[in-house]
Symmetry: C2
Subunit: 331 residues, 2 copies
């Protein structure tokens, strides 16, 4: 399997693309399963692990609106206030860059995102549905002018018409954004589709020197496979989470991805330690990961909310998977 | 994602290749985790589910030597005696074909495999390491002459030199075997390698009209991804197990594969029912499925026995994953 190609265009085992960057979003995507209520100790463990593992970016959480999401109802990683971040990372005197993500139409970005010289954040990521692209463009412009690196994550792209996607890619390619992410929100893409879409995103990005990123979900046990498929086809910014911790079926596991990548700056051992000692023990209270219900919503290219609601019930009140199947198939 | 291609060579969503056959090996591969001691009730449930789901073949177990593997030490599916099989399937008056697998140098095949007209079995599969190919060829000839369909599964091919593999493929292509299986015994193949190998197996099979099969393990969470990669590249005989039940990290989950395949003869609902009611409850006593230890042996292209031994210990006696990592990395 090849990150890089040799002179004959063949995959090479012992080379790597130095452009590849890994972004750990354990706390950010995992926060969707516990209203962002992680202990400071846990967040610090993940932070220190990312530093030790040579990961390029760590995403701490959201920069979303305190009006829409009151502080009393959520843990600190829904808003990523400067004081909360600094309690964990100090001035972040490390090579690890820090990021937060802001949802289009859910973020008071103009006020809540500080100028970069007043923040420990390095990267602002903008999450947008296709119809919100005009808002996203303003958010990108705002963060860019404040001095941040920026990415844009076009969500639920498996439900978007080809022409609309093409137009969105063209608009975003003309913006100052550094990276455009291919996002498999519903975990519904097969590997072949990831290949085609990665090529399409790359084509849109090429003229303006932008990178393509990949963010996957594991509804059909393809999160890792789809991530490395994107790598092989040229994606250079890769999202992953420890033990796959993330919404619903979870994300591409960081430990698998680091095992795959050849750049010697990455180290697997600290990640294994954190997964075993700090992340896996959360499974008792946070139920993420592959499940037949997620497989079914993924197969149907649906938001996982029906599956999450099914799994949120006490086991004794939960319908059988066959009943769930009959319900979701009755579309 | 495409099983078939349209006239322009593009993947098509609404067509399928009727040549594709699915083989359920839940009881056979799963038997490696419990010395083949399943209750008759469980085997009957899996059998009835395969019939209801339109699966093409069900593998009941091994045809291995009673001298080497005494009956007292194993459940009935180590030997697949005719009376044991008939207790479950009667005369198997269904469209489901039945198979058993025999290991080269571990099977008294000349005596233990009956002529086909005296057996409920339809298919004899021969499992061989590369150095046993001469034995495998004799086993294939024997089963073929007795009236069976035959396949050959070349195991541990990730450790085989290219030239040796080529020679083995040429020898097997000249035999009466119907299908040659690409087998990822150690769960170490990446998707790109499966693509290349599938093409290579197909090339060897083409002249003699044989099919290529695929049998994967989930050490790196790629069992399903690698199976559909083989399908897209032309493999037509596909092994899978319910809930991925199988040795170590387990196999390609049948429910995912059936969700992917478009042939209307396949039905997902009965499989979901069996997985939920009959297979998942076995997890308490049989510990199969992805684990970081299997990821490490897969990454290192090693037999999973070190991981199985690690996981076989009581939790309190088990070393940390970091200690396991240090040990397996010290090669």
């Amino acid at each position: 399997m090849s990150e890089a190609k040799d002179n004959n265009g063949r995959g090479s085992w012992l080379t790597f693309r130095p452009e590849i960057k890994v972004l750990d979003c354990t706390i950010r995507d995992g926060g969707l399963m516990n209203d962002h209520r992680f202990t400071d100790e846990l967040v610090r463990k993940v932070y220190r692990t990312c530093v030790a593992a040579g990961v390029d970016y760590m995403e701490l959480g959201y920069k979303n609106s305190k009006d829409q999401f009151p502080k009393a109802d959520f843990g600190p990683w829904k808003h990523c206030d400067e004081e909360d971040m600094r309690r964990i990372v100090g001035d972040n005197d490390t090579d690890l860059k820090l990021s937060a993500i802001a949802d289009a139409e859910k973020s008071d970005y103009k006020t809540d995102i500080l100028p970069k010289d007043q923040s420990v954040l390095d990267l602002i990521r903008v999450a947008t549905y296709i119809h919100q692209v005009p808002v996203a463009l303003d958010m990108i412009q705002d963060a860019h002018e404040k001095g941040y690196e920026t990415t844009v994550n076009i969500m639920a792209v498996s439900t978007v018409h080809e022409n609309d996607l093409q137009e969105a890619l063209e608009l975003l390619a003309a913006s100052p954004v550094d990276t455009i992410y291919l996002v498999d929100s519903f975990g519904s893409f097969y590997t072949e589709e990831v290949k085609e879409l990665t090529k399409r995103y790359l084509k849109a990005c090429k003229a303006t020197g932008k990178q393509v990123g990949i963010h996957t979900h594991n509804n059909q046990q393809l999160a890792y496979a789809n991530t490395i498929e994107a790598v092989v086809n040229g994606a250079n910014q890769l999202d992953a989470t420890m033990a796959g911790l993330g919404r619903g079926a979870g994300n591409c596991p960081l430990e698998l991805l680091i095992g795959f990548l050849k750049n010697p700056k990455y180290r697997l051992r600290p990640i294994l330690e954190c997964v075993e000692n700090d992340i896996e023990p959360l499974r008792g209270s946070m139920h993420w990961g592959f499940d037949l219900t997620y497989m079914l919503t993924g197969l149907l290219n649906q938001h996982p909310r029906a599956a999450m609601s099914h799994l949120g019930k006490d086991e004794k009140d939960r319908d059988s998977i066959v009943k769930f199947y009959d319900e979701v198939m009755d579309v």
